[in-house]
Subunit: 158 residues, 2 copies
DNA sequence: TCAAGAAATGATATATTATAACATATCACC
DNA sequence: GGTGATATGTTATAATATATCATTTCTTGA
């Protein structure tokens, strides 16, 4: 069994720092501005490995005294998802931080229904199967949404 | 190349009749009541092979003079999706009719971004790849959302 | 350095999607 | 026909998302 979800008790500050460092690099490469608001939203998303909704982010920002409205949050989310620094989970209307934004793939997401964590997989066999199925029916893929809900390893054993 | 999306000019009345006949059978088998409202909503969904939103259904029902409110539509949709007669497309917040409700599978949906049609696939290789990937990371699957957006064969050639 | 245009955010309003809660009607069964 | 269960009606509101225009901040080049 390989790890996909981070271990309990891992050093999550390192996850956050690494994610921010990567984001800075991506923005730099794209000549995109990693503004305070975008950085703030990105950090909030990375506070956990769970997916977080736009209005949860809004509540946090407002609770910190910022006079932020929904469009501000959605704009930051659009910026981050366009750069693939953040992914939207369609079946949750929620967003979570990508830990491999440099990877050019059809993403697959494992979502634990017990602990709420999300993990992104880069499974080549899945991608191949999807592309093969599409080819068989002469379908030209533009985007895929592959979201797998269930119990993560930790949640089946604890 | 095998067909997945129905041919243009096919006899869609047959699709509708067949879907309703199947739905009646499923409801019978489950001792579930295929009431007028549920039948009406189901028929509306089957007016095309596109996915349709709850509020589009509501508008149609109201335009026909029925005094229907959102909960009525959502209840019918819940009934139909529970029986797997209708599937929800998460990335569209929309619903479309299943043409193989008897099949016990992890569904995969091809969604044409040009013509709007949706087709359900039952691709065993895709299911195997998903189950294998889950097994590798000791993830216990409860449900899957596999939605593939792009251009159907008709829309790439016409 | 600062003027002009571009980009980002603020602010207000509203659209879209979905559900809670309780009342009424209909159905299945005895 | 009475009774409990199921379905629908009705009203209100929650949750998610976007349109529009004003203001601020940034970039860039004279
Ligand atoms: Zn972490
Ligand atoms: Zn878990
Ligand atoms: Zn048809
Ligand atoms: Zn098409």
């Amino acid at each position: 069994m390989t790890d996909l979800f981070p271990k309990k008790g891992h050093d999550h500050d390192r996850c956050i720092d690494s994610a921010i460092a990567q984001a800075e690099k991506v923005c730099e490469a794209e000549s995109a501005r990693f503004t305070d608001m975008r950085r703030k939203v990105f950090s909030l998303i990375w506070q956990s490995h769970k997916a977080v909704t736009a209005y949860e982010l809004l509540d946090i920002l407002q609770s910190e005294g910022l006079r932020v409205q929904p469009p501000t949050v959605y704009r930051a989310l659009e910026f981050l998802t366009d750069l693939r620094l953040v992914h939207r989970i369609e079946s949750l209307n929620a967003y979570f931080g990508c830990d491999q934004p440099d990877c050019d793939h059809l993403g697959q997401y494992f979502i634990c229904t017990k602990c709420g964590r999300v993990a992104e997989a880069v499974d080549e066999d899945m991608s191949i199967a999807v592309r093969k199925a599409a080819k068989q029916v002469a379908f030209k893929i533009e985007a895929t949404t592959i979201e797998i809900k269930g119990l993560c390893h930790d949640c089946t054993t604890h």
